[in-house]
Symmetry: C2
Subunit: 360 residues, 2 copies
C-alpha cells in the first residue's frame, strides 16, 4: 500500500494505491455527511466487470452507492450529460452533501468531477480510477471537463477530490490498447520528471500488465507521486504544471486532425512526444540518443512513433493553433534537455512548421 | 466613492461604488492579459439603455469590449445558455486569459459568472451590476448558477470576481417593481446585520430612487459592506452566511408555488421575511413590535406583506421541502431576536406547518 498526498489550495487529499484489493484506509468523514449514501457514476463497460465488487467493498466501508451509468467513450463528455446526471441525482434525492464517487477512466472522472463541482455549487468527490491512464495521470490534479464541438475540455473546473482510491486489480480487464495508452503517459513522467519510470514502463506487457505486479505497482506509484508533486506546486497551471504538456501540444493537435475515434489519446501523445523531442534535439540543447531511446521504448510497447502518412505538418500546425493552451500567436512547447530535465521552447506557427519539416 | 474589500479564499477583491459615473480606480492587471480585450455579457434591456455609455467608459480604461447579449429574464439562466455563450466566446477568439464582464442584474451576473468559471476552466470576471438587487446583494459573494426544471440555481460554482464596479446611475432606468425588489433585499440586511439600513431603505422612493441620492448611496454602501463582511467570513456557506437566508426559505418556496413569472424574487422575500419573523415572534424570543415595524415598511415601499389568498400553507411547506438548502428532513429558518440579531430555528415539516398556521 502506498499513500501519496496532494496539495490543493489550503487543503490536501490522499492518493491511496493498493495492489491486493480496493482499500482506502481511513474514510474521509465528509463521505458520511448524507448518512453514508453516495452517488456512484460509472460507464457501462466498467459496470459490467467491476460494479458489483466495488459496491460490495463500499458497503463494507459503510457507503451505500446509488449508481448512475453513462455510455463509455469520449462522446459522453458533453454538457448535456452534465445536466442529465444532475437530474438523475435529484431524482435519487441527492442534496448538497451527497458525495459523488467516480468509478472509471478519464472520461468518467472528468465528467463526474464536473458534475460534482457544479451540483448545488459543489459536493464532495472521490475518484476510483479503473484505467492505467486514470491511475497514473487523469485522476490526480483536480481537473474536470466536458467537450464542445469546437474542442476538448472547453468547459470545466478545478475540483479536487477528497481522495483517489487506486486498485491495480481493475487493470486486469483493461484492453491492451488502453494499457498502452497509460504506458504512453507514464513514459511522459519519465522524461519530464522521474527517469526510473522509463525502465519500469518499458518492462510492462500491455497484454498482461499484472504479470509484473511489482513493476506495475512501482510505476503507478512513481507516476502518481510525480503528478502529485507537480500539481501540488502549481494547482492552476501558472508555471511548473506546464511541463505536463510534453507531447501534448502536438498530441492534441493530432487527435483533432485524425478525429478522436481514430487514435487513442495515448497514441497521439506517443507521436507528440517523438515530434516534440525531435524539435528539442534540433534546437541543439538535448543530450544525444534520447530520440532513439524513446523510439525503441515505443516500438517495444507497441505504440506508434511517427506521424501517420495521411497527416501533413501543415494540418498539424493548423490544428495546434486551435488548441486552447495557446493564448497568443506563439506556441510554447516542452523540450527535453536530458531525461528528467525540461525546457520551454517558443515558436511562431511558421517557425513550428519549418522546424517540424526539418526535424522529421 | 466607496471602496469595500471582500475576502474570497486567499484572495480579495474590491467593490467600488460611485454615484457620478462608472469609475473603477486602478484597473486589475489581469483585465489586460488578452491585450485589453474583454467579453461583455449583458441582456437586451440593459443594452438598450446602457451599452453604449458603458463600452465608451471601458474604452477610456483601455478595455475593448466584444458584446454578447442574452434575453432578459430568468429563462436565460439555463445550462444551454452557458454552452451558447461559450461557443460565442470561442467564435470571437476568446482564450483562457480573456476576461468576462457581466453587465446587468442577477440573471446576467449568475449566468456570466458561471460561464467565466467554466470557460477553459476559468477566466477573470468583473461584475457591473445594473439593478438595485444586484448592487446590494447578488453581485457580491461569488455565487454563480443556472436553473434546472427541478429548481433554481441547481448547477453553479463559487467564482469570485476581480472586482465589482457599481454605478448608481444605472438605476435611473430601472422600473419601480425592480427597485422595490432591491429594497426588499436591503431590508433583509437591516434585520440581520445593520439596523440603520432600515431607515435608509424606507426613505427611498421606488419610482425615483435617485431623488434621494445620499440615502440611496449610503444604503447601497451599507448593504454591500454587510454582504462583503458576511461572505468574507464564510465563503462557502458553512456558518455565518446562513443568516443571508432570512426571508428566503419561505420566499423561495413561494416563488416555486406561484411560478417565477407571477412574483419577483424581492416580493417573495418580503412575504418570506414577514412569515419567518412571525415564526420567530411566536417562538417567544423576539423583541415586541418588530413584525409591525416590517409590515409598515413594506406597505410604505409598496411591497406585499402577506401570503396571497390562493397559496396554502401546505403548498408552501411542500415547496420548501424541495428547496436545495434543505439537506435533511428538518428546516433551518433564520429568526430575528432583535433588529440586527439573528437566531437559528429548527422545524420538522409538520412543526413548520403548525407554526405557520398558528402565526398567520
Amino acid at each position: 500500500m502506498k499513500r501519496i498526498r496532494v496539495r490543493a489550495g489550503n487543503q490536501n487529499y490522499p492518493i491511496v494505491i493498493h495492489s491486493n484489493q480496493l482499500r482506502v484506509g481511513r474514510i474521509p468523514k465528509q463521505l458520511h455527511t448524507d448518512g453514508g449514501r453516495v452517488i456512484l457514476i460509472t460507464d457501462k463497460t466498467v459496470a459490467k466487470f467491476h460494479l458489483k465488487s466495488t459496491t460490495d467493498r463500499l458497503e463494507k466501508m459503510g457507503l451505500r452507492a446509488e449508481v448512475i451509468t453513462v455510455r463509455p467513450g469520449e462522446r459522453s463528455k458533453r454538457p448535456g450529460m452534465v445536466v442529465r446526471l444532475a437530474q438523475e441525482m435529484l431524482a435519487k434525492g441527492a442534496n448538497r452533501k451527497t458525495p459523488v464517487v467516480a468509478l472509471g477512466g478519464g472520461v468518467v472522472g472528468d465528467l463526474a468531477g464536473l458534475v460534482a463541482s457544479l451540483f448545488m455549487r459543489g459536493v464532495p468527490l472521490v475518484h476510483i480510477p479503473t484505467t492505467l491512464l486514470a491511475q497514473v495521470d487523469s485522476s490526480i490534479g483536480g481537473k474536470t471537463g466536458v467537450d464542445l464541438p469546437e474542442g476538448k475540455n472547453l468547459l470545466g473546473t478545478f475540483w479536487p477530490p477528497l481522495a483517489v482510491w487506486t486498485w491495480l486489480g481493475y487493470l486486469k480487464t483493461l484492453p491492451p490498447r488502453r494499457v498502452r495508452e497509460g504506458l504512453s503517459e507514464a513514459l511522459k513522467y519519465g522524461y519530464i520528471y522521474d527517469p526510473p519510470v522509463l525502465e519500469l514502463a518499458t518492462g510492462i506487457d500491455p497484454r498482461n500488465p499484472l504479470a509484473t505486479p511489482d513493476a506495475l505497482g512501482a510505476m503507478v506509484e512513481r507516476c502518481a507521486a510525480a503528478k502529485a508533486e507537480i500539481v501540488s506546486r502549481d494547482e492552476r497551471e501558472g508555471g511548473l504544471r506546464e511541463i505536463l504538456n510534453f507531447g501534448h501540444t502536438l498530441g492534441h493537435a493530432l487527435e483533432r486532425v485524425m478525429g478522436y475515434h481514430q487514435i487513442t489519446h495515448g497514441e497521439a501523445v506517443a507521436i507528440g512526444m517523438m515530434l516534440e523531442l525531435k524539435l528539442s534535439r534540433n534546437s541543439g540543447h538535448t543530450e544525444p540518443g534520447i530520440v532513439e531511446d524513446l523510439k525503441e521504448r515505443l516500438v517495444k510497447l507497441g505504440l506508434p512513433h511517427h506521424l501517420p502518412d495521411n497527416v501533413t505538418i501543415q494540418e498539424l500546425v493548423d490544428a495546434a493553433r486551435h488548441d486552447k493552451k495557446k493564448t497568443r500567436n506563439d506556441f510554447r512547447i516542452i523540450g527535453i534537455r536530458d531525461v528528467g530535465k525540461t525546457e520551454i521552447m517558443n515558436f511562431t506557427a511558421a517557425e513550428l512548421s519549418r522546424a517540424l519539416s526539418a526535424s522529421i
